[in-house]
Every structure is written in structure tokens, then in C-alpha cells.
Symmetry: C2
Subunit: 175 residues, 2 copies
């Protein structure tokens, strides 16, 4: 039997991605769960961010962001980058993360994440508490250690995360 429960966001899974951003001078990292693929051609990813957030200000200025996909060893960084404001600290330094230059954007990628996706903002849609930034994928970067010779990713080699209502989940291929 089903029962009606609280009218919250109960979608599952949500990602837990580290989004890096920059206005060309300052940069920041924000942990995002409200994100997902929204189109295949062109490939597009959306991230939703509250207007009060420092990262919102940086992305509005530059119209770009990088999705960095963390492994489970970066959970502490995910928690830190999701709770502390980048107005008050350098999140790369505080979390011992390294900046890495991508192919197209001024925004740095995070070296410690096995996959980084450079995105250029095409639309910004105000939905209420959050603005949704729709970014077109310009380039995907993956660690050489996790890719096959044809350039495809070996997902058995990544210890990926998902997130829901404060919980982190490990993910294992079953089929």
C-alpha cells in the first residue's frame, strides 16, 4: 500500500558533483545535487543554484562552469564545498584540491576528480528558490587510468557517488 508523504524532492538518484566556477579573477567550488543531463544533441547538462550562493554570482558573470565527478574518497570535500561559502575561503586550498586547465574555459577543472566536463551556459531559467543553468558540453576530460584505448570510460574503475536527503550512496555496476 502506498501512502502520501511530504511534498519534497524525492527524485533518486541525485548526483553529488563538484561544480567549479570562475568569473575570470576569483574561482570557487560548489557541491550540487540538483543537476542532470537534459539533452543529447547538443549534449547539455543542467545545474540548479540558489541566487544567494557565491557560485551563482560567478557563473552569471562568466556563463561557464565545470562539472567534476568525485569518487567516494572526496566525500569530505563534497560536504565542505556544499556547506561553506567560497566568499570566506579558498575551497581548492582548504580541501587540498588542485586546479587544472581545461581546453575551452577560464574556469579550472579539479584534478582529483576522474571526470571533468566543461560547459558553456546557454539558458538561465528562474524556477523559484533555484535558478537553473543549462550548459552545453564543450569537452569531457577523463583520467587516462579509467579510459579504454577507444576513449570510452571503464566505469568499473570509478568509485562513484550518488546523493539523497543528506545520504551518500556508493554505486556498483550490476548489468
Amino acid at each position: 500500500m502506498k501512502k502520501e508523504i511530504g511534498r519534497f524532492e524525492r527524485m533518486y538518484p541525485n548526483p553529488a558533483v563538484l561544480v567549479s566556477c570562475s568569473d575570470g579573477i576569483r574561482d570557487n567550488i560548489i557541491t550540487i545535487a540538483w543537476a542532470g543531463t537534459v539533452c543529447s544533441n547538443p549534449p547539455m547538462i543542467s545545474v540548479s543554484i540558489r541566487p544567494s550562493r557565491y557560485s551563482h554570482e560567478l557563473i552569471i558573470a562568466s556563463k561557464e562552469f565545470v562539472i567534476n565527478i568525485p569518487e567516494s574518497k572526496l566525500i569530505a570535500a563534497c560536504e565542505h564545498c556544499g556547506t561553506i561559502s567560497g566568499r570566506e575561503c579558498d575551497k581548492f586550498k582548504e580541501n587540498k584540491l588542485s586546479r587544472q586547465t581545461g581546453s575551452f574555459l577560464k574556469t579550472p577543472m579539479i584534478k582529483e576528480c576522474p571526470i571533468s566536463i566543461e560547459c558553456s551556459v546557454k539558458k538561465i531559467i528562474n524556477l523559484g528558490s533555484h535558478d537553473m543553468f543549462i550548459g552545453e558540453v564543450l569537452a569531457v576530460h577523463a583520467d587516462e587510468s579509467i579510459i579504454y584505448s577507444d576513449g570510452d570510460i571503464d566505469y568499473e574503475k570509478i568509485d562513484m557517488l550518488s546523493h539523497l536527503m543528506g545520504y551518500y550512496f556508493k554505486n556498483k555496476i550490476i548489468k
Copy 2:
């Protein structure tokens, strides 16, 4: 060292949800990976669907859909509902799934999924290969067997799935 690879949708995790839809006369189920939470207040979920799909036609007509979250035992139904067109068959019948009436919509929920989320379409955005339907959550229904007395969900009790590039993943709480 990172290497630039194919410019595909490499966001992870993607959900694998069974979206039910109806125009008031006919109904259908489509498996969707391009979906995610996009706003907290009001709670909103997006699903992206190719205009050629039967479900696209039904959702355009009714402006409503239901997100049904499957457990891993429904992988065969996820594969069937993601590859066969509902123009040719009754996917409820073919996958031995049962219709269940929700609180607000004409669209049936899927009884065999532990969580069903009724959504009313607020925006439709053409992005290229896919149209994004942004739905406001009207009600969340969960099996009594997976909820605590306060109505919150016990995620340890659900054998949830995620999806990427043709692979299905099991999810286990780690923190």
C-alpha cells in the same frame, strides 16, 4: 593525467525512472535517464524526452506525468519501457505492472515502484534532440513498508538503481 574524450553526456549518476503518462484516454510508460531535481521551492523535477516518442505526445496533451522509482528487480521492465514504443503495446500489461490511482492526476502511478511522484508540467523547453518538461511536484507516494512513522523514507529498505551509458548500477548508503 586527464585526456579529452568524446563530447557525450558523461554526467553521473543518471536516474533510471519509469515515467507514466496519459492523455486521459491512453496511457504509457517510458524509462527516462535524462531527469533530475531542478528546484526545491516549489519542488520541481525535469524530464527530457525526444519529440518523436509516444510519451511526449501524451504529456503535451495532458501537461502531467508521474515519476515512478523502480527497484533493481524491475530492470527488465526498465529496458522494455526504454526501447519499445507504447504505440505498439500496453506496457503495463507486457511488464505485469499495475495501475494505481494517485491524488491529483489522471495519469496512473505504477504500483510495483516503491515511490511515485505526481507532477504537473509548468514549462516545456526545446533544447535540440530533447524537449525538457519541468514538472512541479504535487504529491509524493511511498510504500508503507519503506517509511518511518514520521513519514520519512528509509532508504536502507529500497534497492535503488542508477544508470549510465547502458549500464545499471546498484546503490548502497555509505554515509
